[in-house]
Structure formats: structure tokens, C-alpha cells
Subunit: 353 residues, 2 copies
């Protein structure tokens, strides 16, 4: 190894779900929305002035920040935007988890948390979820350098109510607490309301799931002006212009078309509830999901085996080869048609096992 190689930061990168380049795949592996973004965004795309491309975007992405602030009843100074919620949370780790004490997040959770902690050299402890994948609130009452968890949790889909969230925040007024609400729109209640009372609470959301815009890369955080200002300072120490012109332009329309958003989310919730019944009939069990995915295990057939059979059949779901969850499949809720193909295949396949 050469001298310059010794100075390279050693990391174990996050591995995202596969993005197959084949057509005719039923893609239920990355929790994307099966429906397109609002037609208003499509119209706006046609009106987009390509000449704008030559100019730098507004570094503050003001149009988008303003629209989000309006939608959630906040001030512009309480909203931060980034290139997907991964960018937002990574920035939040760098900004807020800067002490010597370990931060806390669940052992079964979004697997990027430990990757960010490692890359930024933040010590961490991961309290174990209960056997039925619930957070134990007392685990988060001890001294820490910060707390983060998704609500609903991923990849389990389990939702905790606001009383639970507030209990954790109120016990942790000396740390920044981040609630990662990537899936909150599918039936949960956001902790945004609590940010007024707790200035150390940051709520993160994304356009990638409920707003059908994973490809545009828009995430956002909401909280007190102090938190948002600190995030912006760090952002402006790394990259002034993160959101491209097009994302700002179309993102605005995704927020404006509230009616489409509600319809879209409700369609997915309906399909999810039907899917729960069908999966149970097929011998699966799962924690109750408040997201656009179901985290299911089969009573007799190993998850890995089902995963491989599905893949063979061109149906992609997510499988995590990790302790405690290696007998589960994370199945994204697709269209009714896609789910029919999935159930049709499973019915056939499981009959033969």
C-alpha cells in the first residue's frame, strides 16, 4: 500500500436496493410509488425554460422552501431542503451529532444510520427492538449525544403514536432528536406539531415515497429556526447549490397539488390493506404496517427462498441478510395489478412447497 492510500477514509458503504435495467420487472424492492407524480408537475416540466439551465439555481431553493413551509404551516426559516432525505439526514448527522457521547438508534432500522455514523466517526449504541419490532421508550431515556429513529420504522413498518414520540423528546431535551418520517403520509401522524414545543426536535420527510418523486431527489427537514439555521450553515460549507433548477421547479408543483397527493396516498393505503388480507391467507405474518410496504415472514417457507423464487419470476422484493430479520421480506405496495401478479405467483409457488 502506497503512502497516499493510507490516508484514504475507510468505509463500508450502504448498499441500495437494486435498480434493474430490464423491462417487465415488477419492482417492489425500493418502496417507490407505483403512480406517477401529479400531472401538474408534468405540465410544469413542459413549461420549464431550458435557458435557465446555464445559470446556477437559487442556493436557498426559496420557491420550494416557501411552498413546503406554507403546506405545513411553518415559517420559511423552519424548513431545510436537500437532495433526498439521505442528503438531509447525512447533513443532520454532521451538524448535530458532534459530541463525544454515543447517539442512539434502534438495532433494526434504516441501515444507513450506522453507515453515516461510521463515515463521520460518531459513536453509537443501538438498543434492540422488542420481539414484535416495537421501540422500547426507556431505552432512549439514558444519556446520549443524539437520537434518531424512523416513524413508522423501516424496514418493519411499525408506527408509534405522538404520545410515544413526545415522551422520548421530552426525556431528551439535551440532545437533538430526529424523527425520520419517510413513510408518515401513509396513515401516520407527523411529529411536526411537536416542533413548536421542542426546539431540539427535527422532523425529516421526503418526496420519494408519497409524492412519487424518488427520481427528482428531494428531501426536507422541519424544526426550530435554530436547528434549520445550523443545518444551512453546514450545507453552505459543503455545497452551495445542491438542488438543481428542475427539481426546485417540479417539486413546487408536487406540494401545490394537495388533492392529487391525497388521492395517491389513499390508493396505496387501500391496496396495502387488501394486501394484508391476502398475505395472511397465504400464510404470511407481519407487524401491522403504516407505510407503503409490508415486512412479512412465512410460517413455513424461508424468506430467502421465496425472495429468490420471486426474483427468478421477475418480481423484485427486498431481502436483508441481517440478524433477526433474515426470515423477512420487505414488499413494497405496488399497483393493484402488480400485487395481483405477486399474489398469483405466491399462491402457485407456495402450493408446491
Amino acid at each position: 500500500m502506497k503512502a497516499w492510500e493510507e490516508n484514504i477514509r475507510k468505509v463500508v458503504p450502504y448498499v441500495p436496493g437494486e435498480q434493474p435495467k430490464l423491462d417487465n420487472i415488477i419492482k417492489l424492492n425500493t418502496n417507490e410509488n407505483p403512480y406517477p407524480p401529479t400531472p401538474k408537475a408534468v405540465e410544469a416540466a413542459d413549461l420549464f425554460d431550458l435557458d435557465l439551465m446555464r445559470k446556477y439555481p437559487d442556493p436557498a431553493a426559496s420557491l420550494l422552501v416557501e411552498e413546503i413551509a406554507k403546506r405545513y404551516g411553518l415559517k420559511k426559516s423552519q424548513v431545510f431542503v436537500g437532495v433526498g432525505s439521505d442528503d438531509v439526514i447525512s447533513m443532520a448527522f454532521l451538524t448535530f451529532f458532534n459530541g463525544k457521547k454515543p447517539i442512539l438508534f434502534p438495532d433494526i432500522s434504516y441501515s444507513f444510520y450506522s453507515v453515516w455514523a461510521d463515515v463521520y466517526r460518531i459513536p453509537y449504541v443501538t438498543p434492540a427492538l422488542t420481539g414484535d419490532f416495537k421501540l422500547r421508550r426507556e431505552d432512549y431515556f439514558k444519556e446520549n449525544g443524539g437520537i434518531i429513529f424512523p416513524n413508522p420504522n423501516a424496514p418493519t413498518g411499525v408506527y408509534e403514536n405522538l404520545e410515544f414520540i413526545e415522551d422520548i423528546v421530552s426525556h431528551n431535551q439535551d440532545s437533538v432528536v430526529i424523527v425520520d418520517e419517510a413513510y408518515i403520509d401513509f396513515g401516520g401522524k407527523s411529529a411536526i406539531a411537536l416542533t413548536e414545543k421542542y426546539e431540539n426536535l427535527l422532523v425529516v420527510q421526503t418526496f420519494s415515497k408519497s409524492r412519487s418523486m424518488a427520481g427528482l431527489r428531494i428531501g426536507f427537514a422541519m424544526g426550530s429556526e435554530k436547528l434549520i439555521c445550523a443545518l444551512n450553515d453546514v450545507k453552505f460549507s459543503i455545497n452551495s447549490y445542491t438542488m438543481n433548477q428542475y427539481a426546485i421547479h417540479l417539486g413546487v408543483w408536487a406540494v401545490r397539488d394537495e388533492a392529487y397527493f391525497q388521492r395517491n396516498v389513499n390508493k396505496i393505503i387501500k391496496t396495502r390493506e387488501t394486501a394484508k388480507l391476502r398475505l395472511r391467507e397465504l400464510g404470511f405474518s407481519f407487524p401491522d404496517s403504516m407505510t407503503n410496504f409490508i415486512f412479512a415472514t412465512h410460517k413455513t417457507v424461508p424468506a430467502k427462498k421465496i425472495f429468490e423464487a420471486l426474483r427468478e419470476a421477475g418480481i423484485y422484493v427486498r431481502y436483508f441478510d441481517a440478524p433477526r430479520i433474515d426470515n423477512y421480506l420487505r414488499i413494497t405496495v405496488g399497483t393493484d395489478g402488480e400485487m395481483e401478479v405477486l399474489f398469483g405467483f405466491l399462491e402457485e409457488y407456495l402450493r408446491k412447497q
Copy 2:
């Protein structure tokens, strides 16, 4: 100050050039290209399938990486892409400048370098440019944890030839050397050719200047497979999907249309050379520029005064209130028409001083 506030990372953020929201501004302050991107990208934009938006982009941005690799005669594994060259360089700081020894960059240079070093807590030393804003090669022959400089340098516009670059790289085979070539296409010769010989040399370029796509946010790095692999590992530890679908899609066309690129760059070079004559006639002097800007000082009137008068007249140029350069204006090369307005104003204005 509350306990959680003490854990916030303290930074002094970079301040980007102003993006005025007014129309009728002649904007020569952020080195944008005055001409639109290739019409091929405009056509491609119309063909862009909005339904793609709901899906995550290819995390490797393969289409774009492949196109860049082809254009520069490299393998795909030798190209890294990011959200503007700021994202690429910031990632390179985090990846490569990871030792205890100070990194080196010129005292007068891209002002983001010290901001990144601060945010990532990288020690640094900034050797002074000569009186006529040249790098002194011997300054970079001492022990260090890494080296970065722009070529041509910003905001001076001064270009060093490949013999000079190679001398620095060959003296520094124990560190990663980064040449930031944001402005190389306006007449300089890229150090890409040297990356074959030196596997510790990283060359960074951008679509924001010569390819008229500042608004799309595309930057890229080229170098040995070892360097690119290390960069990708860190990138995948921070954000899997940084380039949005639209940027990947249109960026490809910017690279493919080589003829447009050459014409665009040549137009700017021609305008720049005329501008040099006119500025000299008006009493300005400047280091010879190989970029799309000119870094000029006036023989009698202070730069700050001219800057303010121009701003008043709706002509934005960049002024840096920093030691050694506070009597200079950085003037972006605009269209011939824009430059005429600038010269017309200056002629009038300077006559009255």
C-alpha cells in the same frame, strides 16, 4: 446556550455569488456561460419520460459516466460524478485528506477549499502566490497530507502548463494531488493525460461553465481506478442517489454534442480576447486569463467603488473583500452584447472620475 446547542458543528459557511431575482440584470458575477446548453439537450428534455420520476435514479449514473469516459478516453471505472464539482471536491476532501499532515493550497484560490478543510477538520497551509499571482512550484515540494489547486487558478484566471503540473505531481507521490479544472476548457490543456502515469492524481471538471449547465449540477472527477473506487465508497456512505434522473438524462447530451461545445467555448474565448483589449484601453490591468472571466484592477479607481457603481447600473460582477485581492474585480465573460453594455458604462463612468 442549551446542552444540545453545544454539540452543533461550528462552521463559517462559503458565501456564493449573488443570484439576483430581478430581470434586466447583466450577470457577470458567477462565471456562468452566457449561451444556453446544446439544443440536443433541449430536445432530449422534451422526450424525458416524467413517469421515470417516481423511480430512484441509477445510483451509479452509468449512462453519464459512460459518456464522459468515452469523451475523455477513459474507462468507466476512472470517472466519478457528483452534484456539481463542489460536491465532487467536498467528497474528495473527505475521502483523501484524511491524514494528520496539513494539506496545501494557494492563499489566493477558490475560497471553498478552506471552508471544506474547516468543516472536515483537515489541517491546511496556504503558500502565497507570487506578486503576479503565479504558483511557486517549490512551495508544493514539502511534506503534506494532500494538495489541491485550480488550473487555471480562480479568481485570478492564471494558467500553468502541464510541465508545471507534472513537476508538482511527481514531487508528491505520497499524497493525493487534485487539479481543479473548472475553467480548463477555455484554452488550457487538461492534466487528464497525466492520470495514466500518476495514480495519485485526480482531475476535477464541471458542466457548469463550458457546458452551460450550472443549473443542472453536474461535476466529475477522473483518475486511477483506485482513486475513483475510494470516492465511490465514500459517496455510497453518504447518499446513494445524488444525481437526479433529469441531470443524468440531459448531461449525456451535453457531452455527446461535441461540435456545439467547441463552438460555444470558442465564442467565449473570442469575446474574452476582445474584452482584454477594451479593458486595457480603459486603464485596467489583469493577469492573462485562460478562463471565462478576467480578474482586473484599475490604475486609479478602487475596485470596490467600480463594483458598487456597476451594481447600481444593474451590472453584477464579483468583488472579494479579502487581503491582496480587494482591489480587483472578477468579471465573467458574457455575450458580446453584454460586454458592450459593460464597456459603454465603464467608459462613461471612468471619464467622470
